[in-house]
Symmetry: C2
């Protein structure tokens, strides 16, 4: 049976105690975020304390906004989950899109995202090596619109670099006004 | 220039001091909400106090999820805003849809909502008499998914009744697992 309780947020915390050690934190577009040493991802109902973290970003796993039936079934058939033992590398990409993007009607956002930019198709090419989870932040009043969390084995880092390079050349990315790219390795304290 | 700050929530408060006097509060589907005398709609960053209100529902004005370019332009051309002096009647409809709805891919939700149920087209028939504003609540962790607020003049109450009766007969409504219908008149204390 499907869970039908209220949607719960996930918190992404930049701190000194998390299991993910930050290697690089790069502002690709727009302003950087404060420095932190490590990252914790925490689900649940209790808000984390601001003073214990260099930064906090919040997001929810929500319904798919663009994926159609065929794409969803292809994704589900091929993708793997987070927390695979060999996937000791992670990346966290924070994205804020422009007001011009959000003002577009649904059909035009879909056309830019997939027909023009092949966002879903490009992500699919790198499955199952690059596991991916999308969190929505905009409606929560956050300063960014999306958090995407990726996990992969060290030998697939070059594939991940190719994936983000492909996406950054697309028409969709012309609507991105802030992008932060944080790379991590798993190293439990 | 478009506002580009963070999205702010709106609070819908059931209390004894608001400008909208409740005439009826009806659970159309599922459990009712606690009784209250009046309603306040409050935008902004400060959370209201639980103890001062019989109930609190929170929602955000977000991007359009289904509307295409033609529909959006037709809506913008015809619709009128809230707070018209003659619109002394209001209705607040709280909706929760099933997990089966939220699991559907985007193309199938769109097909049910418009091709099969004519949700957008039906709302359009009653413009500009019935003004409407949609607030999204699901991703905020609320117990309901949507708050829709309507305002109309007393002579259009029969039209509003016809509008909700039409929508409640649709395929889309088979996915509604809770619906509360609150009717109000403006009567500043």
């Amino acid at each position: 049976m499907l869970h039908s309780g209220p949607v719960q947020p996930f918190y992404f915390l930049g701190n000194s105690t998390g299991p993910w050690l930050i290697k690089t934190s790069t502002a690709i577009i727009g302003a950087p975020i404060p420095e932190a040493e490590r990252v914790t991802v925490s689900g649940g109902i209790h808000s984390p304390l601001q003073e214990e973290n260099q930064w906090i970003f919040k997001g929810v796993v929500s319904n798919h906004r663009y994926t159609n039936r065929d794409e969803k079934e292809s994704l589900v058939a091929v993708q793997e989950g987070l927390n695979r033992p060999q996937a000791t590398c992670a990346a966290m990409i924070l994205i804020k899109k422009s007001e011009a993007w959000w003002e577009l009607p649904q059909d035009e956002r879909r056309a830019i995202l997939e027909q023009q930019s092949e966002h879903i198709k490009t992500g699919m090419k790198y499955l199952p090596a690059i596991a991916r989870k999308l969190y929505h932040s905009r409606d929560l009043g956050e300063s960014i619109d999306f958090i995407t969390w990726f996990e992969f084995a060290p030998e697939h880092e070059k594939d991940f670099n190719a994936l983000v390079a492909e996406l950054r050349k697309t028409r969709e990315w012309e609507f991105v006004e802030r992008e932060i790219d944080i790379r991590m390795v798993k190293e439990t304290v």
